[in-house]
């Protein structure tokens, strides 16, 4: 019986201790690491990824997957940039448009998955290519954005002691985490997401709106990746169709490292925040180190993901063994 308890708690426990140990190790190794400024930058640098990962957390909690998030970020950023620079639409509207488009793509995904029973990976893989195609169609080149309101958004920051600061993406990220936690814990939608991940057939027999919730989940993921793209645009002050390439793995890694089981049903938005923290620390540490190249980040993240998947497998089989005896 305690083993099943373990199944719930152990992933988060491991994640928390890995986060603490890694942060402390980096702090000991690099003297300037454990400062408010570095941690603030860590949040700002990963805000767009974090927002994407929050949406993805819900999808993975249902036992599904969304591979389209990375190219949605690229589409979102180029779309916003194009709307501002060519169509001269107010940045606020231009940033909102990709959100709506993301939700629409998510709606299509959800319908194909829940109504026609197509495998999520296939539908969202097609979505990945579709979004990238649309993005490249809008523009091959990187587009700079120059607009007073937009510059104000990019430039705004709240100064904290220790040369630290909070930027717009950071604020949005923190808000998204809060809303995500509320959705997951306090709403019927969130609890239904968990129920679907636990046992979709049972959830249906319990009279829960499984299909509707699945569609909403993929819409939420599309919305979040659209928002992530908007934040990326603010973060870089430009739009680029190929930004976000391979981001899906980073996002999946953050979710899984955060203790959400890929088979669905167990996990939390807070865990995803920790997962983002671990990825951020890895990235920052590699930058601090100086001699290691950026692609090391990718390899380290891949290895971390593999390690956590192995741990999950171990916990699962231990839990199964304890149930059958």
């Amino acid at each position: 019986m305690n083993r099943t308890h373990l199944k719930e708690r152990l992933p988060v426990l491991i994640t928390t201790s890995v986060f603490v140990v890694m942060t402390l190790a980096a702090g000991l190794h690099f003297p300037n690491f454990l400062t408010l400024r570095v941690l603030g930058n860590l949040l700002a640098d990963n805000a767009f990824l974090g927002v994407v990962a929050v949406g993805l957390t819900f999808v993975i909690l249902t036992g599904g997957i969304d591979l389209s998030v990375g190219s949605m970020v690229g589409l979102s950023s180029i779309m916003a940039a194009k709307l501002v620079s060519s169509a001269h639409i107010h940045p606020l509207l231009a940033l909102a448009a990709p959100l709506a488009f993301g939700a629409f793509i998510g709606w299509v995904h959800g319908i194909l998955i829940s109504k026609y029973g197509l495998p999520p990976f296939l539908v969202t893989l097609a979505g990945l290519f579709f979004c990238r195609g649309v993005a490249l169609r809008i523009s091959h080149e990187s587009l700079q954005i120059d607009h007073p309101f937009f510059n104000a958004l990019t430039g705004w920051s709240l100064s904290l002691p220790g040369k630290a600061s909070i930027t717009v993406p950071t604020v949005v990220f923190i808000l998204t985490i809060a809303v995500g936690m509320w959705l997951a814990k306090q709403t019927t939608f969130g609890r239904t997401v968990y129920a679907i991940g636990g046992n979709a057939a049972s959830a249906r027999l319990m009279g829960l709106p499984v299909s509707r919730t699945l569609v909403l989940t993929y819409m939420l993921s599309g919305l979040c990746s659209g928002l992530g793209g908007a934040l990326f645009t603010i973060y870089t002050s430009s739009g680029n169709a190929i930004s976000g390439t391979g981001l899906e793995l980073d996002a999946i890694a953050a979710v899984v490292i955060g203790g959400t089981l890929l088979s669905g049903g167990y996990g939390s938005v807070f865990g995803t925040l920790l997962g983002i923290g671990i990825l951020g620390v890895v990235q920052t540490a590699i930058t601090f180190q100086g001699t290691l190249s950026s692609w090391w980040t990718r390899i380290v993240i891949g290895s971390l993901l593999l390690a956590f998947m192995l741990v999950q497998k171990g916990i699962e089989s231990a839990a199964n063994r304890s149930r059958s005896t």
Partner: protein, 333 residues
Amino acid sequence: MKRLPNWCWPAIVLAAVLIFNLVLTPGFFHLEIRDGRIYGSLIDILNRAAPVGLLSLGMTLVIATGGVDLSVGAIMAIAGAVAAGLIARPSETPFAGGAPSLGLAAPLALVAALFCGVFNGVLVAILEFQPIVATLLLMVAGRGAAQLLANGQIVTFNAPGFAMLARGATLGLPNPVWLLLIALLVFNLGTRATALGLFVEATGSNPTAAKVVGIDARKVKLVAYALSGLCAGLAGLVITADIQAADANNSGLYLELDAILAVAVGGTALSGGRFSLVGSLVGALLMQALTTTILTRGVTPETTLMLKAAVVVLVCLLQEPKFRESFKRRVRA
């Protein structure tokens, strides 16, 4: 009644596309022989379809077991980086310093690709990870590894002998076409002259029943993923030899979808079971014929990407009984 093979539909569509071009694209069917080599749009389609065709052979086996391999594009990049590294010996890479080893380049690149395939196979067959997640790992981390092997550069080289692999011709036909034909022959022999094909189909068709009759599904899956890796390695070599460079970021990018699409269009169900290697090849040719047609009609390549995504979804929907039923109902109503 003699049943038609399941690849007849894509073959008919392929014929339709060709006829469309026959009517609307002047010179599409024009073939000419220069320097003992045949040139023309048709040969061009065959030649350009070779990498996806190679990928689709391995992908067919993986999909027939009920899985999928998303990492083929990244494996192509790894194979390309290894081959280019061994030939060019660029500084600041793991290959720096040694003499150019032309003879070793291709075999070692294939070994690396095979290793990647086995890695996927172990994750899926032994550790029982979902195929999507297991192969997604290499799909993205694999590109990191390829960049590491090339130290983030685009490794160029000048090795006419190696380039012959993609640019040369034998008996009038480009070498990639020969490579593809030989691979098809080997795969067909390997699966149909042994019992491997039957075991793959049984595993994908009903895993529980396969267990009851004593088929070792783990072994079957391991072999399928390993072969898929090997095919990706071959495809990577062809592309690297063609451009005489290895670009870790772009080599084989998005080709996994093409390969999956070729397999699905070729009549192999994505849920596993019955497969047809010839069908997948016809599927790959159809895709390339479409792409070539789109390009010759002056439409941008991005549109191809969108079109392909739409076609994948459509093909899968048509395979899905649920959709066909509701479609029939709507038609009747």
